[in-house]
Symmetry: C3
Subunit: 361 residues, 3 copies
């Protein structure tokens, strides 16, 4: 198989069979690490982290090092030319002169898209604001597969902040492709799964149950995916404190769980999983970190082999709105990027920004 | 040939034949990269960036990695021992214990000189304030050569801030060595090429024309070197805004240019070259970035092979002024470096500081 | 021999014979560097520097690179996930997924201990606040050995801030193990060697002389270990200024020193050793830096070979005080680490915190 696109910007860029291929390759890397130790010799990854993330950066860098390649990078905006006002596009084109593949993390939505459209080498989105983080989803999928040995007939509980958590949205959209998936959405009312995710599930006839009570879902779950509830989401602090405890996973709550439950978390955690749970063999979240490295090794291999080097998506100019429209999303890369043409793609209900996916207003 | 000096502190450290040798070597590296992949095996470069510069740092680091060497470094003052008050001299001597060659960038003029005089390993000046940046000039020269296939009989336009731009001064001083060079200096009156550069050209009978109008020079040019005009240079903001547009390179202005014009820029740009120009095959500025890596590979090879390990220049003590004189340039490294002896060298019109080249007052 | 423990948290973790083995190995590395160039191929060190330290970080990183291994790391808190509130324990467990050995520097006492108790891979304490810094002591010991060719019958002068200087305390505790060691403690009264160090020496019958005058001790010394006197230690600035000069090492003071004196300093220095002394062949402080790299190479080799993978020290639960006690030392890692169980070990005069060694109150 070929990776169809030269880049990985969001999980939807990958077909089910491409995901399966990545997981197969990752499993082979886990089994035969020596086979891959020189695989990317003389190749370089550039890790452009406009926002610090130790875990994700180390994961990409050690993935490349374990393939025999090398690394150049920056790990925070204070180290790079951002201060001098260089655009993401120019930085990407500069870095293309030095590296063979780019992993970019940025605080603005659509930054990875901008990088990808400006270079011929593969670009991996390592997180663009609250928008996409596809390698996290790949790590999640590899973890589910290695822990449960299948993607089929799994009951998956997603717990915590389901409204803003990008990892849970991506995971739902990836897992709904498999036979027999059933979801429990466990969250306070204020942080419920957004309407568009629910509608998508209904359209595919995927079973999903909403509840405010973790205990209620627990006995049914094959996988429990925990996320953090951020204090900032609540204007009423008393309500926050009241609710918080309900969504903390501790040993008593696990008493009613299946013996082979798989507990996941994208990390870092603050206190949403009690430290006592770490010793439970069902706690898979540090194995999940390790899987993150292996799936990134597979991804780097596949993207460097990809023969389709077409830059992303500006395929049909007639779909674009008049460029006089400006995206009003302040988290969009178009709000800061010099010389960026505003582009909108026609969607069912109007136009949406090609960078951040927000509706044009 | 041997590099005469162990260090590269300013472009004048190199003779024309040494520059030619570097360019010949760089061209061979471009042609046969595999030949050099292990050339610096077991060698380490230390990148000491007291001031962030993604492009320059990545260029040095990927140069060393592509030669099979490795890297230690810091990329901003927050990461290093500056806060603890360590002198550049002590840092350099410490780093000498770990690395085989140093690339140093510092916000103070003369910092690379201080490092070079304190260690036996080669030191490359990767920019010391507004003072010198010789590897940028080498990258510029390699670009002119690879784009034009010759250094002779070229008409070179330099556009923008010619008063403060160190890269243009170095480029003029390097290019004036070649037969048939002709310069156009294109700038607002306030930002004209300084007197000493003009005098040097007149002394050598090099043709040079000053103009305020880019359009006027355009049809004559083989090379157009763009630089940025900084808003801070103008006290009158209305004047700045009026002038600015005149010096922005866009497609209409290029209509009158030669078919084989070579457009260069040291980057990062802000808006002095319109993004539309990037698609023009004459736009050489990203190729210039790539050339920067290749010439740095050549330089690293040559400096590590250099047999002259003499520390720079304190050859004749009688030339120095009494040490009671203190350099008054606040941008000079002597303004912050602990334990540094003030040194002045006798020049035609008095003494000048050996670190920053400023006249002693 | 085996390193008994999987980690090096403080110099007391090593027996005299283990130190001797490390020094023997370091000497072999110095003699035959090529023999070790691939020794750690496919191994990775993670350098977790929550506090910047160019020298120590470069030393660990170049040690690993010179063994053929690779590096992932961060060099200041702005680059890592500290801002997101991740605990040291979680960071260490995450990093364990990517690396084979950890070197951690942290501003809080006991941070390396927390890391070590949470992972199976070796952890090296690269400095935890003012607490421990065992690889500095190893570098000091290797320097004494390579300069003096013996550890026996040496008269060692320690000069400067003996009250707060952790390196001098560790060096005393390491050197007192050898036959014929004699100490001169040279400091202002306010910064005298603490009582517990003096008592320990008296219990072992080790000769030690206290003096306020460097000149007095000078003629006797085989080794002079200089440290910095920090201005902050004095409430009375006039007293500080009066005293300061007495403890600055310059050429005149060295006139009365032995011909083969070995002058050491942990660096960075500010002005406690005059720059003129650097040219004196007895100045060993930059050789000391180089020895730091070699001993770290030896340490990395030994720890990666260690077969005892037991996590540190929580061997006898009955020794611990009720967990209701909280450590009151604001420099203790327990003051900021989420989910850390307070632990106290029974000492002669009450309980002491297992992380920072402070007495429980």
């Amino acid at each position: 198989m070929d990776i169809m696109k030269k880049d990985l910007l969001e999980i939807c860029n990958l077909s089910t069979s491409e995901i399966d291929d990545l997981i197969t390759l990752a499993k082979d890397i886990i089994k035969n690490p020596d086979k891959y130790r020189e695989h990317c010799k003389n190749k370089k990854i550039a890790t452009l982290f406009y926002e610090p993330s130790t875990r994700t950066r180390f994961s990409f860098e050690s993935a490349m090092l374990d393939l025999g390649g090398t690394v150049v990078g920056f790990s925070s905006p204070t180290e790079c030319s951002v201060a001098k006002g260089e655009s993401v596009a120019d930085t990407a084109r500069t870095v293309e002169c030095f590296a063979d593949i780019i992993a970019i993390r940025h605080f603005k939505e659509g930054a990875a898209y901008v990088a990808a459209t400006n270079v011929d080498i593969p670009v991996i989105n390592a997180g663009d604001g609250g928008h996409h983080h596809p390698t996290q989803t790949l790590a999640d999928l590899l973890t589910i597969y290695t822990e449960k040995k299948t993607f089929e007939n799994l009951t998956i509980g997603l717990c915590g902040d389901l409204k803003y958590g990008r990892t849970v949205h991506s995971l739902v959209s990836a897992m709904k492709r498999y036979k027999g998936t059933k979801f429990y959405f466990i969250s306070p009312t204020k942080l419920k799964m957004p309407e568009h995710v629910m509608t998508a599930l209904e359209n595919c006839n995927i079973e999903h149950i909403e509840t405010a009570y973790l205990e209620e879902a627990m006995p049914e779950l094959d996988v429990l995916y925990m996320t953090r509830i951020q204090r900032e989401r609540f204007s009423n602090q008393a309500e926050y404190i009241k609710l918080k405890g309900t969504y903390i996973l501790d040993s008593p709550k696990l008493e009613f769980a299946k013996e082979d439950l798989c507990i996941m978390h994208p990390l870092p955690r603050v206190d949403e999983i009690a430290v006592e749970v770490d010793a439970d063999p069902r706690a898979a979240y540090f194995r999940q970190v390790k899987n993150g490295k292996f799936i990134r090794m597979a991804l780097i291999i596949k993207l460097l082999e990809a023969t389709n080097t077409e830059r992303p998506y500006i395929t049909d100019a007639t779909e674009f709105a008049p460029t006089v429209i400006k995206c009003r999303n302040t988290r969009c890369i178009s709000s800061i990027e010099q010389g960026l043409t505003p582009l909108f793609i026609k969607a069912k209900t109007g136009y949406r920004c090609i960078y951040c996916d927000c509706k044009a207003r």
